[in-house]
């Protein structure tokens, strides 16, 4: 693998001078007095749901304000420093975890949301998942046939197509292993244009090749007259009678705490697009009517487990498009609502992430860290939310109003993890690994598939020691026409208040079984278009 540390990247940043572009961008840190702004629509959050909604609603002639808690950071500041990326572009500085520390959560916090730091994998929602939503939650109008035109439109907008460049060595492990075993393996569709194939999607794309919301829909909305307010946190919804009429906002200082001013945003429609955890938390802080106590429940993570393989040849898992091959061999193998199914992918590994996942202590830990150049990291994403033993987590509020996810790791997830570990161990040995270790605090590196099988049979599968993480937070504000189990209608409107809409991944009734960005784009485009029609009628 070529050493990329001498490569120079020089690319124009479209955000260099927003005012020169005619864009109305307000830095919350400069708001020190109390003031009120009005618009047709206020969108809370600028990620996959908020970005798409902002562009569609602005282009239909409505005055839109997009509110974002994160500080504006754009390609000129994306310096590929792993620590700075976690600090500035991730929720809780990448230290977010479930309440009992059983699962770590990588979720974006940026202008552009998680789309700024995701690994670009873009899949249409599986038919099985959408059918399950229709049958179990009476989700209406979101069959695969009805959504396909919306997916096609967003694929065009974001240049989503199958990545035809050869995979990096890390992703080639998945291809070789699956091919050898006769398992499904295919190239991943990615939202990129002119990708440099360097491997820094997770730190903010320095070349603007990744078509995140930061370089597509948000500029599109600003061009159509929208206003972006960043570094300002939505505190509570303003509720008058049975109608939401605006939102109370706290501008934030650099340290993410309120600067003392209050900004009041008033609008005919308020859209919550903060993403899972943030959107349910906003509704909880606001004390919205919730007759069945559903807000925050059924939050899902695609609980993800890991396997680390060591190869004779250099893998350099830090370089090259981070995700380009996947396998759906095991996603629906045991039916839709049986034992946990899982999608197989690879994970890019930079030194910080590698060390946090590989763990350990002392001399052994350092020896493990030094194997990074020859390491391949596979992941299995468990589908959660389809079985009666797996109802996901619940969003709670910390004393200061921040969201916290209580999602105990139970036997259902541990059983699925054990099977997924075995699958990955078999796959990596089939790909030629010399040693493979499952992501488990008590597991050693195994030297053969036979030894691995026997070893895993004797491992204790229990919370915390079993390595689990998530980069996909979904659900918490279940969508569907079944009023006893859902809080949001299929068009995104909140059931118990007028003027409030939820357009983001928190409306999913279950996890998806695929990386979520394209599902969020498609459903958001559909529901934002419907809302634009209503508001302009």
């Amino acid at each position: 693998m070529k050493d990329l540390s001498t490569l120079q990247i020089k690319v124009d940043d479209p955000w260099k001078n927003p005012a020169e572009n005619g864009w109305d961008v307000i830095d919350g840190r400069t708001i020190t007095d109390n003031r009120t702004l009005e618009a047709d629509v206020v969108i809370i959050g600028s990620g996959a749901g908020g970005g798409v909604s902002a562009e569609i609603l602005s282009q239909s002639g409505l005055k839109v304000i997009v509110l974002e808690a994160a500080k504006l950071k754009t390609s000129d500041q994306f310096n590929l420093d792993e620590g700075e990326a976690y600090r500035d572009l991730y929720q809780e500085g990448a230290m977010r975890a479930t309440k009992d520390a059983g699962m770590t959560i990588l979720q974006g916090r940026a202008v552009g949301g998680t789309t700024v730091v995701n690994w670009t994998s873009s899949f249409r929602t599986p038919r099985e998942t959408l059918n399950f939503w229709r049958d179990q939650y009476a989700v209406d109008g979101l069959s695969r046939e009805e959504l396909d035109p919306w997916f096609a439109a967003m694929e065009k907008r974001l240049n989503i197509e199958k990545w035809l460049v050869p995979p990096n060595a890390n992703n080639d492990v998945l291809k070789r292993g699956c091919d050898a075993l006769g398992w499904h393996a295919e190239a991943i569709p990615r939202n990129v244009s002119g990708c440099w194939n360097i491997g820094y999607c997770g730190m903010g794309c320095p070349t603007n090749a990744k078509l995140s919301m930061l370089v597509t829909t948000l500029p599109g909305a600003l061009k159509s007259g929208a206003t972006l307010i960043h570094s300002a946190q939505a505190d509570t919804l303003i509720i008058e009678g049975d109608t939401v009429t605006g939102v109370k906002v706290h501008p934030l200082k650099d340290d993410k705490t309120p600067n003392g001013a209050t900004l009041t945003l008033k609008a005919r429609a308020v859209i919550s697009s903060g993403g899972s955890m943030q959107s349910p938390a906003l509704l909880l802080r606001s004390g919205v009517p919730d007759p069945h106590g559903l807000v925050g429940t059924r939050t899902f993570l695609h609980p993800t487990n890991f396997a680390y393989g060591i190869y004779d040849q250099e893998i350099a898992p830090y370089y090259g498009a981070p995700q380009s091959m996947y396998s759906d061999e095991f996603v629906f193998k045991h039916g839709v609502d049986g034992p946990a199914g899982y999608k197989l992918e690879m994970m890019p590994m930079h030194p910080g992430l590698n060390s946090a996942l590989v763990g350990g202590y002392g001399e052994t830990a350092f020896e493990h860290m030094q194997r990074l150049p020859n390491l391949a990291a596979s992941i299995a994403l468990l589908r959660d939310g389809f079985h009666e033993d797996n109802t996901g987590g619940k969003v709670e509020l910390r004393d200061n109003g921040e969201p916290l996810l209580d999602y105990p790791v139970n036997d259902y997830l541990l059983e699925g993890t054990k099977r997924a570990h075995l699958t990955q161990l078999e796959m990596q040995f089939a790909a030629g690994a010399k040693e493979v270790r499952p992501g488990h605090a008590h597991a050693p590196y195994y030297k053969s598939w036979k030894e691995a099988k026997a070893g895993v049979a004797n491992l204790e599968y229990a919370p915390t020691i079993t390595g689990l993480g998530s980069a996909h937070v979904m659900g918490g504000l279940t969508m569907g026409q079944d009023d006893s189990r859902c809080t949001v209608n299929s068009d995104g409107s909140y059931k118990h208040l007028n003027g409030l809409y939820v357009i983001d991944g928190s409306v999913f009734p279950t996890s998806l079984g695929v990386n979520p960005q394209l599902t969020i784009y498609g459903i958001s485009a559909r529901n934002a278009t419907k809302l634009a029609e209503t508001l302009t009628a």
């Binding site: 540390s5 820094y200 139970n410």
Partner: protein, 177 residues
């Protein structure tokens, strides 16, 4: 599942842990080691009692990684402090709650298997403590081990001088156009 945990047992353990955390925090407040002391000199977030407690532990957890970068346990501790800058106030409050608890000998015994303060243990004793702690079967001890050591690793290896000790050649250079 053959080796599965009993969910009710785990929840009970979780409740016991929360109670312990609450009691521990109360006790540390009474003993004067409260979370209101303010950061230690040279630190943005960690308080002096945290620095005293954790610096020896950082040295033991990071092991030869520190010397390989020409660094000391104090450098690792500073890196840990830097990592906290990205966290939310609530994230830090949870961490401080565990650290307040670990000021108590009884809590250290329950969580790590020894009453001794980390600063009073030799290098060999600390390695033994880590071996015992990481092999513990109680869920709270496991949470504390992961909750404290995982950020230590991440905090250290995101530093360019530490990253290069893993064989990572480093990122391309961003040049402003």
């Amino acid at each position: 599942m053959d080796q599965g945990i009993n969910r009710r047992g785990f929840l009970k353990l979780g409740a016991a842990g929360s109670a312990l955390l609450a009691t521990g925090s109360g006790l540390t407040l009474l003993s004067g080691c409260s979370s209101n002391d303010g950061p230690a000199e040279g630190y943005r977030y960690f308080r002096q009692q945290d620095v005293d407690l954790l610096t020896p532990l950082v040295g033991a957890v990071m092991g030869p990684a520190l010397a390989a970068a020409g660094a000391t346990a104090a450098d690792g501790m500073k890196a840990y402090d830097d990592l906290l800058e990205g966290a939310m106030p609530g994230t830090r409050a949870t961490l401080f709650q565990i650290l307040d608890l670990m000021q108590l000998g009884a809590a250290r015994w329950f969580l790590t298997g020894t009453w001794a303060h980390f600063a009073d243990q030799s290098d060999e004793e600390l390695q033994q403590t880590l071996a015992d702690w990481s092999a513990k079967e109680n869920g709270i001890a496991r949470m504390a081990f992961k909750g404290l050591t995982q950020p230590m690793h991440m905090a250290w290896y995101v530093k360019p001088e530490a990253a290069s000790t893993t064989g990572y050649p480093g990122p391309p250079k961003r040049v402003i156009a």
